[in-house]
Amino acid sequence: MASWLERLGVHARPPDQRPRAEVEQDIEDELRFHLEERSAELRSGGFDAAAAAGEASRLFGDYDQVRAECARIQLGERIMMQRFQMLATVLLLLAVGWLAYEGVASRKDVRAQAEANTRLLATLERLETRLSPVVGGMPAVDRKPAVPAPAVDRKQVAWTAGTLEDAGRAAIRGKKLVLAVFASGALAEPGGAIHAVLAAPDVRDALGSYETVLLRLDDPTQGDAHRRLMETTAGPKVDPAFMVYQPRTGTSLRAVEGLPTARMLAKFLLADARWSAGIVVGGPDFGQDMRALGYSGDEGPAIVEPAAPRAAPIDRKGFVHAGRIDATRMHPGLDFLDVAIGDLPATPLDPLDCPGFVAAAQGREVVLRFRVDAAGAVQDPEVVSSGGGPLDLVALECLKAWRFSPARRGELLVPAMLEVRLPAALAKSR
């Protein structure tokens, strides 16, 4: 049942901030895909092309109405605010006109009339200024309430260079905030390799005491956050985006949008008293920003400078990206086949489990090869190395229950080949 807020177009999530034409094109693509798939199915069932298209359209219902309804839901408050803005503008212009009429009718002097009109126009401009960010087009950072002046002892805040691995080290354990640098935005996508790193017991334990972990993503070609940043950032140079990870809630990871520079991010976060005793783990340029803001710097003996990003070799056995994250280390016994640089491999959503195998294996090993399709489903499983017929069947039966996040190429989900070695891949065997 729609709440009264939803009837007004207000939802839990904000409306799509992309240009309206882009949102409408996405809706058009999605609905067309449905009609074409339905048509193809009908054709394979014996319909000729024209009859299939007609039947698909009949089964779909009123296409234009569905498209308009989807746009209304996606754009929601934007449409409502545009209407409100239009109404407010009309009312104010009427008011201007009425005052002008009054001024002439009552033969007030010209100066008083001009002053009244100027005041009204100024009100109109203020209203426009307030409404524009809601309607869209302004960077998100401008929509945030002003951050109070920092009540932070800057000496308590240290920045240093390093990676998430370093976040687990004793030097920064127990602090409230960690900011880590990574090579690629794609790595931090849900289901991506950073998630695997974050879920690893040692890292998870180390991060458990942090309220918030910020991951800084340096590859401007990856990730939705970057695309949106590029839309709002002038010039060819695009600053990194940031992702927020909250260890206590486990998997919540979202883009921090509209914070176009590291300096602004640091200012925004570190001005908050809750994070005043944080440690920032950042790259060398981040250190410069921190110094410029007056925070004391501390390289820290245990923390290493991240290597400059460079092309990593393709490794058929593992997932290698900028030499830092190796997903095979997070998933022992799992091989990602034909992974290219920039790809994210398909990875298990949960620790792999197969109690029957552990009980029956008696030192034998089984290797299964399969494809994880774009929906994350296991397809075409085969036994590459057998541990004996019954043991193979146990392994294949367990494979049916495992769930995977699909592989990614840029923003697309793509099928991917995996090999899993049992019992090495099983959580309970380690």
Partner: protein, 115 residues
């Protein structure tokens, strides 16, 4: 003569979508096909009505969407359940079972009437 398929009762489409997505990410067409396959000839859905429901559920935070490649290697929008969506599914499923049980009891004569 076969009985005509029934229209979905209001409000149940969202429950069905949540239930279908429990088994993993799917695009809209696959969601419709799965619902129709499971319901057999008992239910009739105007397929286009699925999409406003999906977009509304996404804005409520129950599902996420992203573009991927379909089985036919075409660009398709995949939907998946969020944590809030799983919570909503549990709540809606339990409410549905309670109401369905109560209605079935009334239609079947009810304990009070039999006593």
């Amino acid at each position: 003569m076969a009985e005509a398929a029934e229209e979905l009762p209001p409000g149940t489409l969202e429950l069905l979508v949540l239930k279908v997505l429990q088994s993993g990410p799917m695009h809209g067409y696959a969601i419709v096909r799965t619902i129709l396959a499971r319901a057999g000839t008992e239910l009739r859905i105007e397929e286009g009505t699925l999409y406003p429901a999906l977009h509304r559920m996404e804005r409520r935070g129950w599902i996420d969407s992203e573009w991927g490649l379909s089985e036919s290697n075409r660009k398709a929008k995949y939907y998946s359940l969020t944590t809030a969506g799983r919570r909503e599914l549990r709540a809606q499923e339990s409410a549905w079972r309670r109401v369905a049980g109560a209605v079935a009891q009334v239609l079947g004569g009810g304990r009070a009437e039999r006593a």
